[in-house]
Symmetry: C2
Subunit: 266 residues, 2 copies
């Protein structure tokens, strides 16, 4: 019942890498999504070995992207290297917002494409697919100018499938009147599927407002079925940024993740 | 330079209706958008007379909608009556979110269409056009299931143009990769054009996070030009929900509105 479940590390930031690996073992979770920050804190090679020795599959690395930053290309090459070292074939791209003081959203979007064009062959040579994640439009200014699944797909389709795919996260796309057509169109390009729920009111800054599955209004099972109908049979990552979840004991969070995943996603 | 400017009352909630009318007179503002709540507080007929006597044109009434509410049809008929009494031909619809506990967004969207179908002939008979306003997708769950201009247009086009149009508000649609095509498609259906800017970080609840023109990242002049290119030559309403603006002296706010409108919108 949990064979496709992957626990994204951002759901349990109360744990450092060793605690996270131990917690997954206790709960029987065998797949994980990792983030670059905590991996760097623990050490890249040490993390890779720890995960390998624990029998964990790394389903994705978050995140490359932020292409408006001055050192974006160099930093993304590093992120690709890290993904390869961790043994995952997926680097999720959060493409970044507008440059400081800029209102040129078309320019920022073109820069995403140009940057991916520069990086994709390098990534593919290491067996890493870049996964463009559309973020909810409320993040368009400061976090990600890629705002819909269709837009992410338009970008991904400029490149070969082994180089660039899309990350489908229920939180970011559930509201889209065209979401089911977009998912169908994404057949063969879905790198990774992420789930969590939409709850209100949103907190200040809106980043940490995601909900546990079943606590909100997203049709998770319907979206999961639509993703499956494209032929995607890969991991389902649970990724929840939520301060009150981060303030809870990690083992309890993982238990809730497993329970609500079975109840609301499968 | 300000012949098309309309001051939406939601920008200066520090003023009651008489103060608002006086403030507009002091600043030379001749067009206003009104809200049902403060109008009811002052009295509908008294407000209509006050505006008339001051030579103010009422460019829109906010808001009808919230179609998931049990008394929605009756309340919207009342809103239509109020618009007619105030002498405006535009009733802006904020269509409402999901019913409590529901995740059936398709059903909620169909209910918007069904409700408008019931109301539109009644409105048109009183010379009032219903104006469907797409709200930013961050409001889809709790405030408006109409999330893009294309979606609002798909709904509006089910009805004759004198019955149903769309409200184009820069704050809600600026992020949309298809916004300029959607605006072009809206030719002949734009009831009213509203402006303000997008600023971050968003406050808790995200409702009061709008910015004064020029304080954020929206290409206001480009959007205004695109709206004009459809043939729309009507009012440009400035509508800013922002607590710090509401905490400022009203006259200062109106001065800033006029200045930033001329600098960033025209």
């Amino acid at each position: 019942m949990t064979s496709r479940l992957s626990l994204n590390q951002a759901t349990t930031t109360q744990w450092d890498i060793p605690s996270f690996v131990d917690g997954c073992a206790r709960a029987g979770v065998t797949q994980v999504g990792l983030w670059r920050g905590p991996v760097a804190d623990h050490g890249l090679e040490k993390t890779a070995k720890l995960a390998r020795d624990a029998g964990l599959t790394v389903t994705s690395l978050c995140r490359g992207g932020f292409f408006a930053d001055a050192d974006a290309i160099a930093d993304n090459r590093k992120a690709i290297d890290e993904a390869a070292a961790l043994g995952t074939s997926i680097l999720v791209l959060v493409s970044g917002g507008l440059p400081p003081g800029s209102s040129d959203i078309d320019g920022a979007r073109q820069n995403v494409i140009d940057s991916i064009a520069e990086l994709a062959p390098y990534a593919a040579a290491q067996g890493v697919q870049l996964s463009i994640e559309p973020l909810h439009p409320m993040f368009a200014a400061d976090r990600c100018v890629v705002s819909t699944l269709d837009q992410a797909l338009d970008m991904a389709l400029l490149f070969p499938a082994n180089q660039v795919g899309v990350c489908v996260d229920t939180y970011h796309i559930w509201w889209d009147p065209g979401v089911y057509q977009a998912i169908a169109r994404a057949a063969g390009r879905i790198s990774i599927f992420q789930v969590c729920d939409w709850i209100t009111p949103l907190p200040e800054g809106v980043l940490l407002g995601r909900g546990m599955m079943g606590d909100g209004c997203i049709e998770l099972r319907r979206l999961r079925a639509a993703v499956d109908a494209t032929g995607y049979a890969g991991p389902i990552e649970v990724e929840i940024f939520n301060q009150s979840i981060w303030d809870s004991p990690g083992d309890e969070v993982v238990d809730r993740v497993i329970g609500t995943y079975q109840e609301h996603v499968l």
